[in-house]
Symmetry: C2
Subunit: 308 residues, 2 copies
């Protein structure tokens, strides 16, 4: 009979309407599916579990709030080209992308939060050991690709009673995400692909934006027939973080081995240069990891100065 | 080692802080606990599962919205004392609690939404079969008891990182519910007991309000040491639906057997009297059931009139 966990084909109602449960899937089909491997309990995992809070206005709101408070300390459009150390401390040389002039900042210490994928191509007089660790880290990035559409209507709510959550697919698009806010608004944004497999990402990176959007539509069509009437290339957008110049990857995925070696090396400062960011935490890929790492390095430097 | 599903004693963080998972419970302890029986997946069950929407202002807002639209049709403070049928239709006699006078309403049909627990004590010229079904229903009510406190501070958030959800206990209070909104407000309401076992409810019904509140505090203290500093009898409230005059119970729990017999009898009109309400649906205890039942009965009567 199955339980009501999978929901009802006909919802239970008034009078003699006991409802009709969805036909249970055969056990063999469940076992042959890869869904149970982790997708079944994905939403219960440590980094995904409820209660999940979202900043009003999107995740960017957190970065924008920092900018509001410390923006006067930021040098914008400064592309770091070299990091040098001398007896006085650290010199960071950068190209001012407004004037195209090279300039520099000197300081006793530097906290480097440049992603390792970018840092690996920046000249630096780091030790061989640190440089090697950066190279390992640079090659460990997940090159996530996303596709999003503004849909004409919230067909997932109107037609399927889907209010938030994820559809998992075995196509390239891997996942479709439904918005968890704005229920019953006339329109909505649907995530049409969230790819975190580098093999697929590399194929998608090679496509034009329109090719990616078209492919996402045709693959999504298999999940939601009629999808191609709801979304279009014209109202889609896509990001491949592997191709974003100052990211060159979405987040680092330290392997167990590199956690033991490269990560531990970068966890120690290179002279007066400290490495900080989500990649220097056990919450890599999350703003929380970046903030905790910043706190840690500020403490490390404070302790060092106080003890010197 | 256990997984991260149970969370961390020390959350994973920056640098070499890998975090420390909660010590896994021994299998024997898990098997001996009754938690796994249904509490583990309670939040995934059909009637409790996400996405759960709440009316702004509380569940009452739905009833209030009905009142706003059809309030002019409602006779307030009318306590039904008798239901009679004659060749013209139905006569409902009621006591006007403002004037204390008996009055009546005549109609072709009556839709009776009085809980069976109350209806069983109202004079009516129903058939023996219907009267017997009402008696069965009346004895099938869950006499739920609730206790709530306005807490001085949201200690569950501040001290335990609890954001919504339920703590299950083996004490009388059964459950503590934490608010799912207003995170980080200075104060909050906590449900200190939600009893849905009639054995316990009957004991709690016999207590004074202050006795219930005191007992809820001392039992909650075992879950959250220091609880008695956060809540008090003075800022608590309690309801035992079994003692509420026009409810005499919280919701009906049809047994499988009574669903087959009594429920089926009441599903047919008694002459021109139709029975409607959450108890005449497979969503008993829920407003949704009451609304679906109302729709059904309106359709039934419409069909009958059109075919007559």
């Amino acid at each position: 009979m199955g339980s009501s966990r999978a929901g009802y084909e006909i919802p239970p109602g008034a009078g003699i309407n006991t409802g009709r449960k969805h036909e249970p899937l055969p056990l063999s089909e469940l076992l042959n599916s890869r869904f149970w491997e982790y997708k079944m309990h994905f939403g219960e995992s440590y980094l995904q579990a409820a209660t999940m809070l979202q900043p009003v206005g999107g995740m960017d709101a957190i970065a924008k709030a920092f900018e509001q408070r410390v923006g006067r300390l930021i040098r914008y459009k400064a592309e770091v080209t070299e990091i040098k150390q001398n007896s006085d401390g650290v010199q960071v040389i950068y190209r001012d992308r407004k004037s195209n002039q090279y300039q520099s900042v000197d300081g006793k210490f530097a906290i480097c939060t440049i992603p390792l994928s970018v840092l690996t191509n920046i000249k630096a007089d780091f030790s061989k050991e640190h440089q090697a660790a950066i190279t390992v880290g640079a090659s460990s990035y997940n090159r996530a690709v996303k596709v999003g559409f503004q849909s004409k209507r919230r067909f997932w709510e109107e037609d399927y009673n889907i209010y938030g959550g994820i559809s998992w697919t075995e196509a390239d698009i891997i996942q479709m995400w439904y918005p968890s806010t704005g229920f019953h608004n006339p329109q909505g944004i649907i995530v049409g692909a969230y790819i975190w497999s580098n093999d697929i990402s590399k194929r998608w990176e090679a496509m034009t934006f329109n090719q990616r959007l078209s492919l996402a539509i045709s693959q999504g069509e298999k999940i939601h027939p009629g999808y191609n009437q709801e979304v279009s290339v014209a109202n889609g957008c896509t990001v491949a973080w592997g191709k974003v110049p100052y990211s060159q990857g979405a987040w680092i995925s330290w392997e167990q081995d590199s956690r033991k070696k490269a990560y531990q090396v970068l966890n120690e400062p290179e002279g007066n240069v400290y490495f900080a960011g989500d990649y220097m935490s056990y919450l890599s890929g999350w703003q929380e990891g970046a903030i905790l790492s910043a706190h840690k390095i500020v403490n490390d430097i404070t302790t060092r100065v106080q003890n010197s």
